[in-house]
Amino acid sequence: MDKVVNDFSITVGTKNGSGSSTANNTILRAIFKMGIPVSGKNLFPSNIQGLPTWYTIRANKDGYTARREEQEIVIAMNPDSFARDLASVAVGGAFFYSDDIKQPITRPDIAVYPLPVKQIVRGDPSIPSDFRDLVGNMVYVGALAQMIGMDLEKIHAALSFHFKGKQRPIDMNFNTVKVSAEWAQANLEKKDPFYLEPLNKTDGLIMADGNTAAAIGSIFGGVQFAAWYPITPASSLAEALNDYLPLLRKREDGKHTYAVLQAEDELAAIGMTIGAGWSGLRAMTSTSGPGLSLMTEFAGLAYYAEVPIVVWDVQRIGPSTGLPTRTSQGDLTFVNSMGHGDTQLVILLPGDVDECFEFGWRAFDIAEQLQTPVFVLSDLDMGMNQWMSKPFEYPNTPMQRGKLLWEKDLEELKGNWGRYLDKDGDGITYRTFPGNRHPMSSYFTRGTGHDENARYTEDSSVWLKNMDRLKKKYDTARKYVPAPVLYTKPGATVGIIGFGSTEEAILEAVHQLETEHGIQADFLRVRAIPFTQEVTDFIDKYDQLFVVEMNRDGQLNQILSVNYPEKAADFKSVAFGDGMPASAKWVREGILAKYTLPAKLNGKNGRTASTVAARPKSANDVKAPLKGNESSALETKTAKSLKKTPSKK
């Protein structure tokens, strides 16, 4: 039997609320600390206690960490999901289970390892009886460690981190791991081929979840006001603000430079955020689909009254309450025109955890420069799961506060200004805010029709002029939003367009298309709407463009088709939404199902070096970001894991 090293998936089936997350995170972190690229995804029910829940971990020496459908190792701790868990083990895989589950096992094609969980935990008198179930999860950690070669020292490091250095729980849990590993060594015979061996491919990386990253990024962006209402999967973003603000914005006098307020609902949350943004604060709220629906009327107000705010939408699958604990990219078309009448919103689309951090601070700059609400669409997978990430980087530009007038500015202008007067011709006007004591500083903000001086008017020509200016401002936004990230392949004949958390799955699919099907594909990850010139340039190059996304209706595909009607026939929607994080398999199969062999490989696909950035010589995947124009907020992005050679410009 050939060894399979550092390339397999592990799924743990437990009961929700049984405390298995400590154990699962410990496995994830220990593998990470062994230098092996890894991901962990919590596939949990909308329930506090009792329903089946799974945690799936993928270790991959090449750095592909998207979810896989195949599970080589399955650990069954829950009698309610036992049969399903047993059936899910890949042929030739391994099955660990708690031996107090007495159910038939009819899989001669796999290795089966019963674990005496209760016996081991009862054997340790230092474990209080009410902690036995919790600590019992460490039995599978220890046994797994022994059987696949997980480093016990790294497990200890993971537990120390988890328990923030508190010795007693660290010792209690680690002892169970050790005893279980010893028991496995003495009692289990290795019958499967799966092994972990140390690598050095996670050096310099961190593990974090997107919601925490977004919160910390927002703090580095100078957030001053956040109002929110609890909702899965966005709550942990606001909670992380509460965790990290006292640390990062600590002052000697103990006073606060910020306020975080839990509102009575999402209507109030965004209303407060708009109030704060209007009065000059860096203000944000965070929510998910149902909350977003409630925020719609206010979104239109913020757009029309031109109030800068940042709204994080950690997407879950809908419609309606949907599956509250399952991921999705289903809010894109909704947010794109969120609000009645002609509303156009600026959308940012982070693709990984460090972009959640970066867009955390950058979103405030964009919102204040454009004086408009900025919606940042993350998702449950990115927001709540631990991802490998490059370390967070300090903002590389000073805070951009946009066009503001204070008392001294108004004195210079002799009070001569208009809130909605387009002095600079870019659609962006000047603003003052409450607290400005100049007698000419005030204006009356309204969601009703207004002229350049913010006075109420129903005059048609004034209405048209203002709406045209807002459209111009939306065009100006293209210079401020992040440009896309481009991955190129030599001789690529097709283009793939995606956004957000599907990047890992798409990159793996690109690799499979090349190595297994001989299809070379370039991949563009869109990072904002409105689209920048780089998106247009990319779209112009291919006559087959696969638009990959996690929803039913192909929402990005719809938006692209409307924006590029002349190319609409070339867009091929690869859309799928079942609530699970994206996998390479569905991306690949979705593309293959719609792929047509090009009649000729040149034609309009011909391009020059000047139109494509940083064409690599090797066949390796290369992350080659495009550079935006000078005023663009584009940040050069470096590769975050070793499968992608960084390409800096």
């Binding site: 972190r29 580095f220 957030v223 001053q224 430079t257 109030g275 209007w278 805070m399």
Partner: protein
């Protein structure tokens, strides 16, 4: 902000803020002639002038409706935000964090507060935002031409609507139930009382709910209605077809009411409302007594007017946040962005 004292020899109509009354005015009202809301706007102007308030130190807020239009008609030099229907409290809550030295004046109506905005009303009250919250209460929707609001009394009939079959919301009762720290009721036709209560409300730190019965001259036109300056009985036009609104004079009490006095006030059509001014020895710091007085007034079909409840030792919302002295919206990057060395610290906190 401190204001210079008036120079010696300044005209007598200049107040201690160095301003004349016209400095407190707004644009001309576009509400119906005789509307109680205009009278309230005028009393706001007078109260601010007499209190020597600097207009830039006040921020105006409103929702949607006739009442919510009125912030345009006073304090032109103050910032204002005419927001969404029923959502003025949340806008005000966020905005007053921008500069904690500012005082809010919110103007809402009975529809804006007691129907669509009931949730936000009660929550802004329990948070004790530093704002005067005026409800210009007429029991009817004016801008959409004459539908019932939640404060309309049971049995009231309106054209096109039939009879109201539900019990009314008592805004003062709701405010007290939500732990308001200042609750008062007045009548737009009693300008002196309105002004005095406005002054008290402005002086209060925290939320000050002022329920001002402000009859709709146009739509709440039935006899014996709480909120009505009824129309002449000869007025028969269908409501949604109205293109001409007969000018009416505002109803103003000819003689100020005394403490404890109960007075019937005649309306345009000869109908009456009954006002009861709270007794002289009434103790507005007693919450039980406040609730009793409101219940008693309800039972007797009175409108109990005056300062119903006050509690002065509760911190306002922004005070509970331990904010820096500098207004938050004047902080700069050095105050807001953590130092570069903090990024390493944060990364070390991740696994």
């Amino acid at each position: 902000m401190t204001q210079p004292l008036p120079m010696a020899g300044t005209p007598a109509n200049v107040n201690l803020a160095g301003l004349v009354k016209s400095d407190y005015r707004g644009n001309p009202s576009t509400l119906c002639q005789g509307c109680g809301h205009n009278s309230i706007s005028n009393q706001i102007i007078s109260a601010m002038y007499e209190l020597n308030i600097v207009p830039e130190n006040v921020v105006k807020f409103s929702g949607i409706g006739c009442s919510s239009k009125s912030p345009t008609y006073f304090l032109n030099r103050s910032f204002g935000f005419n927001s969404l229907h029923g959502r003025m409290p949340s806008i005000a809550t966020g905005a007053l964090f921008g500069d904690h030295t500012l005082k809010g004046i919110g103007v809402s109506g009975d529809g804006d507060t007691a129907s669509i905005g009931m949730g936000q009303f009660k929550h802004v009250v329990r948070r004790n935002l530093n704002m005067v919250y005026i409800v210009e209460n007429n029991g009817v929707y004016g801008l959409t031409k004459g539908q019932f609001s939640a404060t309309a009394e049971k049995g009231l009939s309106l054209k096109k609507q039939g009879a109201n079959q539900y019990m009314p919301v008592d805004i003062c009762m709701e405010a007290i139930a939500s732990n308001a720290t200042f609750v008062a009721r007045s009548f737009a036709g009693n300008p002196k009382q309105v002004k005095e209560l406005l002054k008290a409300a402005m002086a209060h730190k925290g939320i000050a709910v002022l329920d001002i019965i402000s009859p709709c001259v146009t739509f709440n036109n039935q006899e014996n209605a709480y909120h009505s300056y009824a129309w002449g009985k000869d007025h028969e036009e269908p409501l949604h077809d109205i293109s001409y609104i007969a000018p009416r004079n505002e109803i103003i009490l000819e003689e100020e009411m005394k403490e404890g006095e109960i007075r019937e006030v005649s309306m345009h059509d000869g109908s009456v409302i009954i006002l009861k001014v709270l007794e002289k020895d009434y103790n507005p710091t007693d919450r039980f007594e406040a609730i009793r007085v409101l219940a008693e007034a309800q039972a007797n079909n009175w409108l109990a007017t005056g300062l119903i409840y006050i509690e002065t030792n509760k911190p306002s919302l922004t005070e509970t946040y331990n904010l820096v002295e500098t207004p938050l919206n004047r902080l700069e990057e050095a105050d807001l962005r953590p130092a570069p060395n903090m990024i390493a610290k944060v990364n070390a906190l991740m696994f």
